[in-house]
C-alpha cells in the first residue's frame, strides 16, 4: 500500500517535453506536450539516489517500490492533492454549470451537451462529493476543483562563442520548452517508500527541486479511498497501460476484468515509455528505452459488467504488461478509484426491433 506522499517543490523551472512533432525544423510544435513527469521518472530518481547514498536495501527497493502520479497540490496542503476529474463529470465555470454522463440503455447520455468542462482536476478530499456540490475556486482560492497551476514558458538558450559575447554561427540557439509552476503549488506522487528530504535534480538538466516525503496516515481520505474495493464503475487517476508486453489495449483482456467490452469514457491514447538502466555491456553509454506503448489517459471512466470487488493492489499482475524492467504496476499504471455512474436498466426491445439488433455488441 502507498505509505508516503512525495512532495516536489520546484526551485525554478522544470522541463516539459515539447511534444510529438518537435524537430529541428519545427521548434514550435507542441502538440502532445508532456508535463508533469510520469511516475517512472520519480521511481528512477529513488532507485538512483539509493545507489549513491544507501537508505534502503536495493533489491528490496527494486522489488517493492511502487510510485503513482503525477498529481499536484497547494504547497500548504499537500495531503489534499488534486487528481484528474473523471470524464463522467463535467464541471463548468459557474456553480450551476455541471453535468454528468449516465448510461441509459447502454448508451452514454448527458443532460446539457453544450456545456464544456472548465476544470480538469479535483481535490482528493472531494472525491465522493456529488458533482453539483463541487465548489469552484473563489478569488484565487482553491476549493474542490482546480486548473493546472503551471504554464509553458519557451526559453531560448543562446550558445555563445568562447571568446566573444556573440552567438555561435552554427547550432547557436537551443529552444527549451520550460514549465513554470505557481510559487504556492507543488507536484505530488504516491509512493511505498520515502526518499531522504533534500534538493534533487528533477525534470531536466540543471532544474532543481526540493523533495520532502510525508507519511500517509491510516485515517486520511486517500488511505480510505485506496482501500475501497472497485465495483462496477471506476475512474483512472493515472494513465493505464494494459495488455501484453508488446501490445497496448484499452482494457485488460481477461474474463476476470469483464467478460464483455466495458463501457468507457475516454480520450485519445497517449504515448507512454520510459528509460531503464544501462544497455548491454559493450555499449554502456546507451540507456535502454522501453517499448513504446499507448496509455489510456487519466480520467478515463470504465463500467464493467460485474463488480471487480478488488482494490487496485489486488489487480492480477497479468492485467499489466511486464517482463521488461519493472512491472508496469510499479509505475502506478491504471491506479483507479470508484465512481458512481447512473446506470439505467436496459429496456428489452420489442420483438420486431430485436431482429434489427442482431450482430451488435
Amino acid at each position: 500500500m502507498f505509505k508516503f506522499l512525495i512532495v516536489i517543490r520546484p526551485l525554478g523551472l522544470l522541463y516539459g517535453s515539447a511534444g510529438a512533432f518537435l524537430s529541428p525544423e519545427n521548434l514550435v510544435g507542441r502538440s502532445g506536450a508532456k508535463f508533469p513527469p510520469d511516475a517512472g521518472t520519480l521511481s528512477g530518481l529513488i532507485l538512483a539516489t539509493n545507489q549513491e547514498q544507501k537508505f534502503s536495501d536495493h533489491q528490496e527497493l527494486k522489488t517493492n517500490l511502487a510510485v503513482a502520479g503525477a498529481f499536484w497540490a497547494e504547497s500548504d496542503h499537500p495531503e489534499n492533492f488534486f487528481v484528474p476529474i473523471p470524464r463522467s463529470r463535467i464541471v463548468g465555470e459557474k456553480n450551476k454549470d455541471f453535468d454528468e454522463w449516465a448510461l441509459t440503455n447502454n448508451k452514454w447520455e448527458r443532460q446539457h451537451p453544450d456545456l464544456d468542462p472548465e476544470y480538469q482536476w479535483q481535490s482528493i478530499n472531494s472525491w465522493h462529493k456529488q458533482t453539483p456540490q463541487l465548489k469552484r475556486p473563489e478569488k484565487g482560492k482553491l476549493n474542490d476543483v482546480g486548473k493546472t497551476p503551471w504554464e509553458f514558458m519557451p526559453i531560448l538558450h543562446p550558445y555563445l562563442k568562447d571568446d566573444e559575447k556573440h552567438v555561435r554561427d552554427r547550432d547557436g540557439l537551443f529552444l527549451e520548452n520550460a514549465v513554470q509552476m505557481r510559487e504556492d503549488s507543488c507536484l505530488v506522487y504516491l509512493s511505498t517508500h520515502k526518499l531522504p528530504d533534500g534538493w534533487y535534480r528533477f525534470g531536466g538538466e540543471n532544474h532543481i527541486v526540493e523533495i520532502t516525503s510525508q507519511a500517509i496516515t491510516e485515517h486520511s481520505s486517500i488511505s480510505k479511498l485506496l482501500k475501497q474495493k472497485i465495483g462496477r464503475s471506476f475512474a483512472l487517476i493515472t494513465p493505464a497501460v494494459w495488455g501484453s508486453n508488446n501490445l497496448s489495449t484499452r482494457y485488460p483482456n481477461d474474463v476476470r476484468f469483464s467478460n464483455k467490452r466495458p463501457e468507457m469514457l475516454t480520450d485519445r491514447p497517449e504515448p507512454w515509455r520510459y528509460r531503464v538502466g544501462k544497455g548491454e555491456a559493450q555499449n554502456k553509454r546507451a540507456s535502454k528505452l522501453s517499448i513504446g506503448r499507448y496509455a489510456v489517459p487519466a480520467g478515463t471512466v470504465y463500467v464493467v459488467k460485474h463488480p471487480l470487488d478488488l482494490t487496485w493492489w489486488d489487480f492480477p499482475p497479468e492485467w499489466f504488461a511486464s517482463g521488461e524492467g519493472l512491472p508496469l504496476r510499479q509505475f502506478g499504471c491504471g491506479l483507479c478509484l470508484p465512481v458512481e455512474i447512473k446506470i439505467e436498466p436496459k429496456v428489452e426491445p420489442k420483438a420486431d426491433q430485436k431482429i434489427k439488433q442482431t450482430g451488435e455488441d
Binding site: 525554478g12 539516489t49 555563445l160 510559487e183 533534500g198 540543471n206 553509454r285
Partner: protein
C-alpha cells in the same frame, strides 16, 4: 541529493537579460519575465554562462603560464592568426609542447559546469554539471515615490520563493505591510491613521506595520538596504508596480560620419533598475567550488548592453557551497 546554496545578486547598474535588438519584431527589447508575477528574471543558463566564462578566463591564464616557461612573446604569435580563437590557439600550442591540457580541477570550467557537445564523440561527449543554477527572481525592487524616499517592494509570492531557497523561518508579511519605521506620509484628514505612499500612478495605503526586526529577516545576506524602505505589496499589484519601476530608454546608433540616426538603428530597451535584489538557488553535487577564491562575493556582469554600462552586479554566495 545536492548540497544547498544560493546566490544573491544586487544590481549596481541597470540589468537587461532578455531579447537583444533585432530578435523581436517590435523595437522594444523586453526582459525575461516570470509567468505568474510578470517580474524580471535572469535565466539559470545565463547565470551558468557567466560563471563558466569567468572560470574559462582562469583556465586561459593557466594555459598562458604553461607557455610562458617557453617563450614570452606568444601573444604576438597569436595576433598573426585570426582564424582561430585565442583559447583554441593556446590549447594547440600547449599540445605542441607535449604537455597535458588537463588543468587543476578547480580551474576547469568543464568540470564544474558540464562539458559542451563535441563533434565525433559518443553522446556528444557531454558531462553533467557539478554545479546547477536555477533562474534568479526578484526579492526587492526599488520604486520611485515622488517627494519621498525610494521604497523597495516585494510580494508574498516572491518572498515564498526566497523562503524556500534560503530556508528562512520568518512568517511571510501580509500584503501592504511595512516596518514601523517606514517614512511614509500620514494623512490625518482622510480619517485614517494609516501611512500613505505616493507613486507615479497613484497612492497606496500601508495596512499593517510590523517591528523593524521582523522585517530585517527579509534582508538577504550581503545586501546593504535599510528596513525603513521595505514594503510588501499584493501579488496582483506587483506586475504594475514592477513595470513602473523598470528602467526604460530609447537608444540609437549614429552614422559614422554625421550626427544623424543610422537608418532604422533605433530601439527601446527596458532593464531592471540599479539597486534591485535577486536570488537564485545553487545545487552542488560536490563541495570544493570556489568561483570567487576565498571570498564569498564579487562583482560580475550579467546580461547584455555591457557597452552602455549595463549589467554590473554584486554577487554574494551563501549556504553550503565550498
Amino acid at each position: 541529493m545536492y548540497k544547498k546554496a544560493y546566490g544573491i545578486i544586487e544590481t549596481l547598474a541597470p540589468l537587461h537579460v532578455g531579447a537583444a535588438a533585432g530578435e523581436e519584431s517590435g523595437n522594444l527589447n523586453l526582459i525575461f519575465r516570470d509567468q505568474f508575477t510578470q517580474t524580471g528574471i535572469i535565466a539559470g543558463s545565463s547565470i551558468r554562462g557567466r560563471f563558466r566564462s569567468d572560470m574559462r578566463s582562469k583556465r586561459i591564464e593557466w594555459l598562458e603560464s604553461c607557455l610562458s616557461n617557453v617563450s614570452n612573446d606568444f601573444k604576438d604569435l597569436y595576433l598573426a592568426k585570426d582564424d582561430t580563437s585565442y583559447l583554441n590557439w593556446l590549447e594547440e600550442e600547449v599540445k605542441k609542447l607535449g604537455q597535458s591540457l588537463e588543468c587543476p580541477k578547480n580551474l576547469d570550467e568543464h568540470n564544474w559546469y558540464g562539458h559542451h557537445a563535441v563533434e565525433g564523440r559518443p553522446d556528444g561527449g557531454t558531462t553533467e554539471a557539478i554545479v546547477k543554477f536555477e533562474y534568479a527572481s526578484l526579492v526587492w525592487l526599488p520604486v520611485f515615490c515622488p517627494g519621498q524616499p525610494v521604497v523597495w517592494i516585494s510580494c508574498p509570492r516572491l518572498l515564498k520563493r526566497y523562503k524556500l531557497i534560503t530556508g528562512c523561518d520568518a512568517p511571510i508579511p501580509k500584503p501592504y505591510t511595512a516596518a514601523k519605521t517606514l517614512r511614509g506620509r500620514q494623512i490625518s484628514d482622510r480619517g485614517t491613521a494609516k501611512q500613505i505612499l505616493f507613486f507615479n500612478l497613484g497612492f497606496m495605503e500601508i495596512e499593517q506595520q510590523i517591528e523593524a526586526e521582523a522585517m530585517q529577516k527579509w534582508i538577504p545576506q550581503g545586501v546593504d538596504l535599510a528596513v525603513e524602505s521595505f514594503v510588501v505589496v499584493g501579488d496582483n499589484d506587483i506586475a504594475m508596480l514592477h513595470d513602473m519601476a523598470l528602467y526604460r530608454q530609447s537608444r540609437i546608433k549614429m552614422m559614422d560620419d554625421m550626427k544623424k540616426v543610422d537608418g532604422g538603428a533605433f530601439f527601446n530597451v527596458e532593464a531592471l533598475p540599479e539597486g534591485s535584489v535577486l536570488i537564485f538557488p545553487i545545487a552542488l553535487k560536490q563541495s570544493g567550488w570556489k568561483p570567487f577564491g576565498d571570498d564569498a562575493s564579487q562583482d560580475m556582469y550579467f546580461g547584455g548592453l555591457e557597452s552602455v554600462g549595463f549589467g554590473r552586479c554584486h554577487v554574494t554566495l551563501a549556504g553550503d557551497y565550498q
